[in-house]
């Protein structure tokens, strides 16, 4: 079958669609869309392979979402973007600052989407992204409100609800991550939730049984085995094999001079033993740059038992960019293509599962997210 690969690239100043030829050698950059808007995420719906949703805000205007059903030729704004309920008189209400993480719903539920927001909130659309309703079981649970904390408990860009995962075997089974606030799952479409933080380390001196002390950066479920999850946390790389509820820190097997701190987590589209991370410097004041200014991807081929450096084609020194949690992804080809966008606006690709790297776009704004789709 002849296929092309398309990347949805979301940046701090707009969004781009980047398409390959059939061999993933020649890439065409199309855009910008929403120039000047902050686009945290843009995702092509895998169920129809033509609908694209993009989150958007500007430095001054409030958050919204846009939808295209013709590969970005035309965009329609959500008529009811994600928003918390109006607070009762005298109470302090929450406001969505930005929508952060888009996830298409289950294959059996066309039109259903989820979005995680900053501050922490989970919202659901049943009409392809035009109207959104709060998932109250999470947003308004008193215990979760406590764990979600306030603005000071989140990332420098605000608390983020991310890694919204819909189990491909069960549309009612959801996972989410909260930075900060831990990892949680629901078996009833978000009505009830339970924490999934056992085995994950937290800062010395804090009680790891408290979800509010946990800062998962990115959680991924393996398409090749949905019972396997990988986690890149503020405190290491972990693996979880369900039905177990306790994570194992597989990042201890990373080289000690690199460590196992980072933001993205990428899993192979077919082989659950293969995963990639992009380590960053998490020492001292947390520079959040490539360790030593020498960027590299690390791959495991045995579920985290061993890790190998993949840096062929990447700068050998004096490269101080890094990769944000949504800005590294993989396509679904048999020999998977790997992609990441940097904080300095370079878009990198590897057609051979990370063995070699080259840029396919440069001089873009700071890249927030990259998503890959294979189009028939």
């Amino acid at each position: 079958m002849v296929t092309v690969t398309m990347l949805c690239v979301a940046t701090r100043k707009g969004a781009w669609l980047v398409r390959s030829d059939t061999k993933r050698k020649v890439w065409t950059v199309e855009g910008p869309h929403f120039l000047g808007h902050i686009i945290h995420h843009m995702v092509l719906d895998p169920r129809d392979q033509q609908t694209i949703l993009a989150t958007a805000k500007t430095g001054h205007l409030g958050p919204t979402l846009f939808r295209s059903t013709d590969f970005g030729k035309h965009w329609q704004e959500a008529t009811q973007p994600p928003a918390f309920f109006k607070a009762a008189e005298g109470e302090i209400g929450r406001t969505v600052d930005h929508s952060f993480w888009l996830t298409p719903g289950h294959a059996s539920e066309p039109g259903v989407w989820y979005v995680g927001t900053s501050p922490h909130g989970l919202f659901r659309s049943e009409d392809g992204g035009l109207t959104w309703a709060p998932v109250n079981g999470l947003n308004d649970d008193p215990q979760y409100r406590l764990w979600m904390g306030g603005p000071q408990d989140g990332t420098p860009d605000g608390p983020k609800l991310h890694s919204v995962i819909v189990d491909p075997r069960d549309p009612a089974h959801l996972y989410v991550g909260m930075s900060s606030g831990g990892i949680h799952e629901s078996h009833d479409r978000g009505v009830n939730w339970s924490s999934l933080i056992d085995g994950i380390e937290v800062m010395d001196g804090l009680d790891a049984s408290h979800a509010e002390f946990h800062d998962p950066h990115c959680v991924r479920q393996c398409p090749g085995n949905p019972d396997r999850l990988y986690l890149q946390s503020h405190f290491g790389i972990y693996r979880l094999d369900r039905p177990k509820n306790s994570w194992t820190r597989v990042g201890k097997n990373m080289p000690t001079d690199v460590g196992d701190i980072g933001f993205p987590m990428v899993v192979h589209p077919h082989n659950p033993d293969i995963a990639w991370v992009f380590p960053m410097d998490g020492t001292n004041v947390w520079p959040r740059t490539s360790p030593g200014g020498k960027p590299a991807v690390y791959i495991t081929k045995d579920g985290g038992g061993n890790w190998q450096r993949q840096d062929r084609g990447l700068p050998a020194e004096q490269a101080w960019w890094t990769v944000m949690r949504q800005a590294m992804t993989v396509d679904s080809h048999d020999t998977a293509g790997l992609y990441f966008g940097t904080t300095s606006g370079q878009l990198w690709a590897s057609p051979d599962e990370g063995n070699s790297w080259h840029t396919i776009a440069e001089h873009m704004p700071q890249i927030y997210a990259v998503e890959a789709s294979v189009l028939a």
Partner: protein, 85 residues
Amino acid sequence: MKMLLPSALISYTGCSEIEVRGDTLADVFSLLDQRFSGLRFRVIDEQNQFRCHIRCFVNAQQTVDLTHKLKQEDEILLMQALSGG
């Protein structure tokens, strides 16, 4: 009444000066949203507050009160803060 809008909203209205009506600011923004779907939420949040980088003036006097009563001869100026990067 006349309403002046910041450039960031021209993608909704097509121009920076429009005629609006309403007995209060809340009425004005509600009717504006009917004409230009989505505009209101870009400048007023779900708690009915002007967003932090948006300022509203009626006859050159700043107000944050959406119940502010209006007269036909009033002029509304909506601004975005001079900030960003």
